[in-house]
């Protein structure tokens, strides 16, 4: 039966308006009033009528029915009741708002304390159309600030003082706080005169009574009197809530279904909310009774306070100021239900439980295609896909229905309309026979079905990808090892999740956007992430080495490994014909890339291999121009037309992370499909070849030979001796300090460098001395696993153990362990391990190694938590940024963040060269190599002409940017132009154009989310190595995760602020010193030789003898006068300028003292004077002259520059001798203050890139730019923290799902905010597809037109 076309579209929540629940509404939605405190009747254990578990509220009991709607526990949505509070109480959520309002209004006439002029100004501002929430809040803050300063009410002239919170839930008004109100206070006190005379004790309390207690009743009265007009001024919108609604008068009792009772062996266990409600009902009743009977006031007050507290705990059980009872488990109030990771927002609304998913252990299978995942049969029988019956699949589905739920290609349900039948029971054959077109069969997963595969932590979009299912026996999910990279999976017990999309739309979308084939490269920088790993690399390396020769049988055998006997493979001619026909291993890979002559895959690439030894020119004839190809270890890869000319297959050529790897090149030139096919072939080949080869690692692989042992011992002994010498030198004090270091640091630095050199040298010896067949060595050489250091640690020497960047510190008195003499600095006592893992570590070494190992473990644990949070914040801040149809990047509210994405509108994941759409050199060589030789070679001028003509043609200019066209033109001008045909030029230009067009970003791309992932994900891989050398010893810069955190937090104080100043005379050391003297902080103590006290009968002075020699040496431009003024200007010392006399010839200053206490005064001065800053910037701790180690746009190599540690960019820039324009700081906030927001943006970008680069992580500049723009586009630097994000986003739901959930919700209600449900978080919470991003961008924007009923045609009646 055909379903009718929907004439009513499903309801979509478009907007949420937050408001206060007022008393009327509370009662209106309620069924009855709760008056009874008991839960169950004593006799039959049924819920008490008018109690908080009344059956009219619904029921949590499976056997009972709701008395309001008559439904059972599953179907009843629940009903409300209310409690009428006898006395009003404060609402804890609005407590802050209540105080704020009280501060702003007159406590007598309840008007807002604003002069008429201010009032008009603010009213106007509040009434602006489309006022953003954030501005409204800023305005009400401004009103509050202005109003609370007003003492006399402009309307009733009453006195107003400060309103503040006392204790947890009390507000007091200090009416006569202001000094000028002393007169009023006196008058007010005088009014009590009569009473005091009558009752003496009252006088004692009079001063206490100055603080007026604002109890809920009084506040309620005040709030009721606030006119609507004034409500606006305190930020509220009377339409959505008035101030008196902040105060509880009627308490709504929620349905039972949200607070179910759990019956446990006879007794029932009540929810915290229920318990709290009974408490409230009880206290309320007590008060009511008390009032009726006239109980004493203190008792009433006590009960009122208790009621107040109960109601507060009911909302929020974690009240600040209310001590929680130890031993008692804290109750879960409403706030606690919403808050936190497991709370409603993050736990249930932003992330939901799903059906049709599975999870199990994963294992590898190289025989699967890379886009396949093996699904165990038992999983395939549970997960189903609802397939609609068509004439084309009816027979297949009939079979599935017959097979039923228990045998594999079966089905679990058949649905016809709303009628769904389970196939385990009943006559399946009958159902199968009756199957008709239009039915839906929930059939088992079969080969080729689209599934999503995921591994936590899902740090980037490649953590969940779309595979094709392959149903296999046994119990694990299996995947091709090549796909481990993006998931970061291994097979040591990892589990992964599998989801089955349930509609054709979902499948298509998954297949297009998330499939493995379309995600071979990371959007972080466009490098391949899915590529050969570990054993695949080892096998390929072994096979492609120069001395692998294969006879025909071997060669054809290996070629047949590629495929499953289902592909045409053409064997190339052998490389050696005579004396015997032999093929080389490289030819295998030529066949792998291009299996048959029919294949069009012509790979052309030239790149460096993992380990590239440079050609030594002295070995070759001098007239040869040496090509890299001749690298002695075959470390340069040249592939021409899919034939490997030279080079080996290793990490760099078939592994991940290199754009010029074979798969990277095939992907760019021939598309993902071909790249995936080649990878499938490689996976099969490698696994099969290596299994046959028998690659294995044993004890013999780590036994060093006698030569190696001898050399290593020699090296270590030599290093020990060297260290001894340095230590001896240091003892005598003859060690020359390194710049910016003291003696100890210099010594440490020198010893460290000696010891690290040893490890390096031993590693090199290992590489040389170990056999070519040594397994660890092979793995280290080809980069499949481990490094040279790992090999040498096993074979030769473990090396120095480092703990937080230093050698092992002293754990005992003056020594690391009691095995060593005190104060010993020798390598063994500070953690140098000379043994290898093979030879075994001695006790002390073992301990040192364990210390360092522990540090690593702690680091990883800390790091995961930190980067996880960082990633979450980045994601929340950037999630809604998308590219629009005009290529601008906007957030969900339509605010422009970038006018063109990344300044050029290119997609980072499609880029080839260095952040450019095409690698021109390679493209040129490719075009030259693949053919089109026919035709006359062109003359150079013809080439230029042709190029110019093409590049200025319409199809080029309309699709490519001008800089790009210029780059292509320049390239063609500079390239070698011998024997170029017209056809080649044309093809080259076409290629350039195509690649550019392909690389343009698609409208709808969620660049924000991808950018956040691209920055957050590498963070997790960063070793928490905090410090890093930046040119000069001791000038350490914070790096790694802490630095990234600082930058994105927009931290005001950073741990290593460094300003680098370019010098006007950058070559001269002397002038650099002078500038350094100007900047660096010099204290009086540094240049004073003697501070003398002089006592005489008639005068007392403190003499300062300035060491002019030092001043000269430090090149300080300092006169005695300067020093005098420096002292005078130091406020703390309180020295008058008359008190100082200068004796210029003796370089002396005297500070005369007189008056009493001159002794103490003199002592104070003597202590304070050495700290006086006489020269330089106080905020700068030190400056170091740095010699540049490489040329850049700020100077050449060898130039001197000044690195200044500390704050004060402005002072540095205006200092004489510094080129102000080229002075930079690494402090974002300071840069923003001094140079403005654009400079701050640049600093953010540069600093993130610098930090990432120093950890060898390349991130496309576009991602970083986007982050920089998000942090600055509001005109101030906003950190990616809860404060910054709150300023960037307007949406309540988004902010609530981020941090401080309930604060945002209460704010929203109090100020009557609205949420437009436009962003990603909000849409997820509401269950809408996120508008304006991804595939939901092209949507129908106009509403469905109203079409009147078709007019009945005359002849229509005739036919019936």
């Amino acid at each position: 039966m055909k379903e009718t076309v929907l004439n009513q579209a499903p309801k979509v929540i478009k907007k949420i308006q937050f408001s206060l629940l007022n008393a009327q509404d509370t009662v209106k939605i309620s069924e009855f009033e709760v008056t009874h405190r008991d839960l169950y009747t004593a006799t039959d254990r049924l819920p008490v009528k008018d109690g908080v578990l009344d059956q009219r509220l619904g029921t949590s009991n499976k056997n009972a029915f709701c008395e309001t709607c008559g439904q059972n526990a599953v179907n009843c949505v629940g009903h409300y009741a209310y409690i009428k509070l006898i006395v009003p109480v404060f609402h804890i959520g609005y407590f802050k708002h209540t105080i704020a309002i009280l501060q702003a209004i007159c406590k007598t006439c309840a008007r807002v304390l604003l002069e008429e002029s201010d009032r008009r100004l603010f009213s106007k501002r509040f009434r602006r159309p489309n006022l953003e929430n954030i501005h409204r809040q800023a305005l009400s803050k401004a009103v509050n600030a202005l109003a609370r300063k007003t003492v006399y009410c402009p309307y009733c002239s009453a006195v107003n003082g400060t309103v503040k919170k006392v204790g947890a839930l009390r507000i007091v008004h200090e009416k006569f706080r202001a000094k000028k109100t002393a007169e009023e206070m006196r008058k007010w006190k005088a009014t009590f005169q009569n009473a005091i005379t009558a009752q003496k004790e009252l006088g004692l309390y009079l001063n206490k009574a100055v603080q007026e207690d604002l109890n809920p009743l009084k506040v309620l009265d005040l709030f009721r009197r606030i006119p609507d007009e004034d409500c606006e001024l305190i930020g509220m919108q009377p339409r959505w809530g008035r101030p008196e609604e902040f105060i509880w008068q009627y308490l709504s009792v929620p349905p039972v279904c949200i607070r179910p009772s759990v019956a446990q062996d006879g007794a029932s266990n009540e929810d915290d909310i229920t318990v709290k409600l009974t408490e409230i009902v009880f206290t309320n009743a007590l008060i009511k009774q008390g009032l009726a009977k006239g109980s004493p006031t203190p008792q009433f007050m006590e009960q009122w306070e208790f009621l107040q507290l109960s109601v507060a705990m009911y909302i929020n059980s974690e009240l600040p100021g209310v001590p929680s009872q130890p031993g008692q488990k804290p109750i879960r109030g409403f706030v606690q239900r919403l808050k936190g990771k497991q709370g409603r927002f993050r736990g249930n609304l932003s992330g939901k439980r799903v059906d049709f998913s599975g999870r199990t252990v994963i294992s590898p299978d190289p025989n699967l295609r890379i886009d396949e995942v093996a699904v165990p049969e038992r999983v395939a029988k549970v997960l189903t896909y609802p397939e609609r019956v068509t004439p084309y699949n009816i027979e297949r589905l009939r079979l599935a229905v017959r097979n039923g739920p228990d045998s594999h290609p079966g089905a679990n349900y058949v649905a016809r309309g709303d009628n769904k039948k389970f196939l385990r029971f009943g006559n399946r054959n009958a159902i199968a026979d009756n199957l008709s077109i239009g039915d839906v069969v929930e059939r088992h997963i079969v080969d080729g079905d689209v599934v999503l595969f995921n591994r936590q932590p899902s740090l980037h979009k490649l953590s969940i990808m779309c595979h094709r299912a392959k149903v296999r026996p046994w119990r694990t999910f299996r995947l091709n090892e090549c796909v481990c990279g993006p998931y970061n999976a291994d097979f040591d017990g990892d589990e992964m999740n599998l989801h089955v999309p349930q509609t054709e739309e979902a499948r298509t979308e998954a297949l297009e956007l998330m499939s493995v084939k379309n995600n071979l490269v990371t959007p972080r920088n466009g490098e391949p992430v899915i590529a050969a790993i570990q054993d695949f690399i080892t096998a390929s390396f072994l096979l492609s080495r120069k001395d692998t020769f294969l006879d025909r049988r071997q060669f054809t055998q290996i070629c047949s490994y590629f495929a499953d006997a289902n592909a045409q493979i053409d064997i190339p001619p052998p490389a050696i014909w005579k004396p015997v026909s032999l093929w080389t291993g490289k030819q295998i890979f030529s066949v792998l890339m291009r299996p048959s002559k029919g294949s069009k895959i012509l790979v052309n690439v030239e790149s460096k291999c993992h380990k590239w030894e440079e050609v030594k020119p002295m070995n070759y004839h001098e007239r040869m121009r040496l090509a890299n190809d001749l690298s002695p270890n075959d470390g340069w890869l040249v592939i021409i037309n899919s034939e490997i000319m030279c080079g080996v297959m290793d990490k760099a050529t078939i592994g991940s992370g290199k754009k010029k790897s074979i798969f990277g090149v095939i992907l760019r030139d021939y598309g993902p499909h071909e790249a995936a096919l080649a990878m499938n072939r490689l996976a099969k080949l490698s696994a099969r070849y290596l299994a046959n080869y028998g690659f294995s690692l044993g004890i013999s692989d780590v036994i060093p030979g006698p030569e190696l042992t001898k050399k290593k011992d020699q090296l270590v002994a030599q290093a020990y001796a060297e260290c001894q010498d340095i230590i001896a030198l240091a003892k005598k004090g003859n060690l020359e300090n390194k710049p910016g270091c003291n003696q100890e640091q210099t010594l440490e630095a020198m010893i460290s460098s000696v010891l690290s050199k040893v490890r390096e040298a031993v590693g090199q010896i290992c590489m040389k001395e170990l056999s070519r067949h040594n397994a660890p060595l092979i793995m280290a050489t080809c980069g499949s696993k481990g490094s040279v250091i790992n090999v040498s640690q096993m074979v030769a020497c473990v090396g120095q153990q480092i703990i937080s960047g230093h050698r092992v510190p002293d754990g005992f008195q003056d020594r690391s362990l009691p095995h060593f003499p005190k104060k010993s600095k020798e390598p063994p006592s500070k953690g140098f391990v000379r043994n290898s893992f093979y030879s075994g570590l001695v006790a002390t070494e073992f301990l040192f190694h364990a210390i360092s190992g522990r540090e690593g473990l702690v680091d990883t644990a800390v790091k995961t938590a930190e980067t996880g949070y960082m990633q979450r914040r980045l994601m929340k801040a950037l999630e809604d940024l998308t590219v629009q149809y005009d290529l601008s990047v906007r957030n969900s509210e339509g605010g422009v963040v970038q006018f063109t994405y990344g300044d050029d509108g290119l997609d980072p994941s499609c880029l080839e060269g260095d952040a450019q759409p095409i690698d021109l050199d390679r493209a040129w060589n490719h075009i030259r190599a693949i053919g089109y030789y026919s035709g006359q070679p062109l003359l150079p001028y013809e080439i230029s002409e042709l190029a110019n003509q093409e590049l200025s043609a319409d199809h080029f200019t309309s699709s490519c940017s001008k800089p790009y066209c210029d780059a292509v033109r320049n390239f063609l001008d500079s390239v070698n132009k011998t024997k170029v045909t017209k056809c080649q030029i044309q093809n080259f230009l076409d290629l350039c154009r195509n690649k550019y067009v392909k690389a343009r970003i698609e409208p709808g791309s969620t660049v924000g989310a991808i950018g956040a992932q691209s920055i957050g994900e590498p963070g997790t891989q960063m070793t928490l190595k905090t410090f890093h050398f930046a040119g000069v010893a001791s000038m350490n810069v914070t790096l790694g995760v802490p630095r990234i955190k600082e930058i994105i937090n927009g931290a005001k104080t950073i741990s290593t602020p460094i300003i680098s100043c370019k010098l006007v005379t950058s070559h001269s050391e002397a002038s650099a010193r002078i500038v350094k003297g100007r900047l660096e902080k010099t204290l009086l103590g540094d240049i004073t030789s003697i501070l003398e006290e002089s006592w005489a009968a008639d005068y007392t002075y403190l003499g300062i003898i300035v060491d002019m020699d030092t001043v000269q040496k430090l090149q300080l431009e300092l006169t005695l006068d300067d020093i005098k003024w420096a002292i005078v200007n130091t406020k703390k010392l309180r020295v008058k300028q008359e008190a100082i006399t200068i004796l210029p010839r003796k370089y002396r200053l005297r500070i005369y003292l007189d008056g009493p206490n001159s002794y103490y005064r003199l002592r104070e001065l003597a202590r304070g004077l050495p700290e006086v800053v006489v020269k330089g910037v106080p905020m700068i701790s030190r400056a170091i002259i740095n010699i540049k180690d490489k040329s850049d746009d700020r100077g050449d190599k060898g130039d001197k520059e000044l690195l200044v540690e500390g704050y004060g960019l402005q002072r540095c820039m205006i200092t004489e001798g510094v080129v102000g324009q080229q002075t930079t700081s690494n402090h974002v906030i300071e840069t923003a203050q001094v140079l403005g927001i654009e400079a701050a943006r640049r600093t953010i970008i540069n600093e993130i890139q610098y930090t990432m680069k120093s950890h060898d992580m390349i991130i496309d500049p576009r991602h970083v730019m986007l982050l920089g723009d998000v942090m600055t586009y509001k005109g101030e630097v906003l950190g990616i923290t809860r404060f910054g994000v709150a300023k960037m986003k307007d949406s309540v739901l988004m902010l609530a799902s981020f941090e401080k959930t309930t604060d945002h919700l209460f704010d929203a209600a109090a100020f009557g905010k609205a949420d437009e449900i436009a962003g990603v978080s909000e849409s997820i919470i509401m269950g809408n597809p996120a508008t304006l991003c991804g595939t939901s961008m092209p949507a129908l924007y106009s509403t469905a037109p109203l079409i009147s009923k078709p007019r009945q045609l005359l002849f229509e009646n005739v036919t019936q």
Partner: protein, 156 residues
């Protein structure tokens, strides 16, 4: 050098000046450095030491040929060079030609010419990864065509 009709594009006698100057990196392959007196050519060549052992100061004849057929004229009779070049018979039967006169024959491709405008040029050829570089005056290498398959024939 043979006449224009011959398939041999280069022919000379070299003397090995050194073997594995960079150090021995592979078990079965060595790199020889050789010089020829007659044309003043320099040669580096990776070769299989097991199949064709050479020592320092050995002399050998080396020829580069575009085809193994004995004469250039032969190419035309067998419908064009292109077809004939890529044909090979795994059983070693079929066309027998130049290789009979040599002890060691490799098949590969000239893939790079280096030298630019100067008198001295270097040709690079790869025989399934075994590299050859031939340096000398461009006059002696005019028949070597970039990108063409090439046979390397050696005899002691």
């Amino acid at each position: 050098m043979s006449g224009p009709t011959s398939n041999i594009v280069f022919d000379d006698i070299f003397t090995v000046t050194a073997i594995d100057k960079d150090g021995k990196k592979f078990d079965r392959v060595s790199r020889l450095f050789a010089h020829s007196k007659s044309y003043d050519m320099d040669l580096t060549l990776d070769f299989n030491v097991e199949l064709f052992p050479l020592r320092q100061d050995d002399s050998f004849a080396l020829a580069l040929a575009s085809s193994l057929s004995r004469s250039g004229a032969g190419g035309t009779t067998e419908d064009g060079d292109d077809k004939e070049r890529d044909v090979w018979r795994p059983d070693g039967k079929g066309h027998r030609g130049l290789e009979d006169e040599y002890d060691y024959v490799m098949y590969g491709k000239v893939y790079k010419f280096d030298g630019g405008t100067s008198e001295i040029v270097t040709a690079y050829a790869s025989f399934g990864g075994l590299l050859m570089s031939l340096t000398g005056s461009f006059r002696h290498m005019t028949s070597i065509v970039l990108g063409d398959p090439v046979y390397l024939l050696m005899r002691k």
